[in-house]
């Protein structure tokens, strides 16, 4: 039980990104971000700067009482600090594609759809892009379909946008002014060269490039003993596979 899973390392890394947040919301199909947010909440439980976590697919961790529009309203009001978005494809300007590959509308491969991304990406200050698979087919030069754009011209209301991209190989930050990603951390199981080769877009390298941090035993204990049972409630398939198999 002392072996640390890759997913746990990513959960731990994401958790670190939530340090200064007051309220994190977790949308559909996001078990890893959800676990990370609950971990951050647990670790700050007895501190002065508590973290509120809203997990839409949970009953217990859902603070909303105004129906499913409240996530979007609350986000537009600036009441949510961090939200996660994924992507079938993500490109170098942080455009995200949740719709499919090929020529729209007659796609080669259709995926589920854009969900709330076309508003959330504009209004939540810290959007963390999360895509476990890091390959030239997920991180592309240009997305086939823009569900939500990474950057907007000045005549578009945009208090929010992409701040980070995390995959199983690396953590990037995004700079909206320069319109590009910069690598911040790398999974020690890969070399920078391997990351470059598996990324379809160019990104800025980093003199201070760090490795993913191994979670402490204390954090792993919290994660497995306190967080995993909670996650089992609303992402049962994920939790069973990782922790309860």
């Amino acid at each position: 039980m002392s072996e640390i899973f890759q997913s746990e390392i990513i959960i731990s890394e994401i958790s670190n990104l939530l340090r200064n947040d007051r309220h994190v919301a977790i949308g559909a199909a996001s078990p890893i971000p959800g676990s990370a947010a609950l971990l951050a909440e647990e670790e700050r439980k007895n501190s002065d700067s508590k973290l509120k976590v809203t997990i839409l697919h949970s009953q217990k961790f859902n603070n909303f009482t105004d129906g499913s529009r409240e996530l979007f309203d609350a986000s537009a009001q600036g009441r949510i600090d961090t939200f996660f978005l994924g992507g079938v494809q993500i490109d170098g300007e942080a455009n995200i594609n949740l719709v499919g590959t090929g020529h729209y509308p007659k796609l080669n491969k259709r995926f589920s759809g854009s969900f709330g991304s076309a508003l959330m990406y504009f209004v939540v200050p810290k959007i963390i892009l999360f895509r476990e698979e890091h390959s030239p087919r997920t991180l592309v030069k240009k997305v086939d379909f823009i569900s939500a754009p990474g950057i907007s011209p000045p005549n578009v209301y945009r208090p929010g946008g992409p701040k980070y991209l995390i995959t199983n190989k690396a953590l990037f930050s995004f700079n909206a002014k320069d319109k590009n990603f910069k690598i911040e951390k790398i999974n020690p199981e890969f070399t920078l060269d391997e990351v470059i080769k598996s990324t379809g877009f160019e990104f800025k390298t980093n003199e201070n490039l760090k490795y993913f941090t191994m979670p402490s035993q204390k954090r792993i204990d919290i994660l497995r003993n306190l967080i995993a049972p909670k996650v089992l409630n609303f992402y049962p398939q994920f939790a069973k596979k990782l922790w309860f198999n």
Partner: protein
């Protein structure tokens, strides 16, 4: 005796006419699977689905069964059970028209009808390919911005549904329906010409006699008929009543991959009498 129009699941399904605009609740809002089966049995055609804001097995089944001509949605997905195979196939092979949207736009278009205004403004969306593919959406200059007057903002048309069907845990003897925190069901109902509800049980009380229950209620004012349908959301879950049926969802996800296996699955599915009081 109840003080509302109590009808059967079959009768509700008959109210769903060919080509109508049908409101579809999300997987967490009470999926009316019992009526969905009857719609499929009726071989209803040309349905236009309006999802608030997404659909799961309900939409995928209706599409696979050939009942659907168009879908307006933010997503179709089986959640933890993967992509929605019949939806994917239908889009990839142009069998249905897809109006790709985003959750808050689907809410706002119904809120416009709720207030009987012709449109709603919404931030975001600009620069997305969603916008490019929606000729019913437009962009105007923000008319309130006196300083610069060049902020662009999207405006969305009011959408009125022909009919809404959802499943809930309880109705009272006066036809009021308990919706709890699922207030998107109220928005859907306010924006729909007709509303039919299936419930797990009808209870011998009036929810308005208790302020707490009243707060969790959709008034009978918006409800045209109610049917009892035990397990009416199965294999989807229903808040505080039952969980999603993992085995059945996995089985569906696998079967729906190909039209032939889907068809076979549906033959069995329809034959099962899994809900009562139809």
């Amino acid at each position: 005796m109840v003080n509302f129009t109590q009808i059967t699941v079959k009768e509700i399904a008959k109210e769903v006419k060919d080509n109508c605009l049908l409101g579809i609740p999300a997987d967490y809002s009470g999926v009316p699977m019992s009526v969905t089966i009857e719609i499929i049995k009726n071989n209803t055609k040309g349905l236009r689905l309006y999802c608030l804001p997404l659909t799961t097995i309900q939409g995928d089944m209706l599409i696979g069964a050939g009942c659907v001509s168009e879908i307006e949605t933010a997503a179709v997905t089986l959640g933890e059970y993967g992509q929605a195979p019949r939806f994917q196939d239908a889009v990839e092979n142009s069998k249905i028209k897809i109006k790709d949207s985003t959750c808050p736009a689907l809410h706002a278009q119904l809120q416009a009808t709720e207030k009987s205004v012709p449109f709603m403004p919404l931030r975001g969306i600009l620069g997305s390919d969603l916008y490019k593919n929606r000729n019913d959406w437009s962009v105007i200059n923000n008319p309130m911005n006196s300083k610069t007057n060049d902020e662009k903002i999207v405006i969305l048309p009011a959408v009125q549904l022909d009919i809404l069907i959802f499943h809930a845990s309880k109705a009272d003897i006066n036809g009021n329906v308990q919706i709890g925190r699922r207030r998107e069901l109220a928005t859907l109902a306010h924006a729909s010409k007709k509303v039919f509800v299936t419930v797990e049980e009808i209870v011998d009380e009036d929810f308005f006699d208790c302020e707490l229950k009243a707060a969790a209620t959709l008034s009978s004012l918006y409800v045209d008929g109610i049917s009892l349908a035990r397990n009416g959301a199965w294999p989807c879950g229903l808040t505080n009543c039952y969980e999603i049926d993992s085995n059945e969802m996995s089985k569906y996800a696998k079967s729906a991959k190909y039209q032939e296996t889907f068809d076979e699955y549906m033959r069995n599915f329809i034959a099962r009498n899994y809900y009562s009081n139809i």
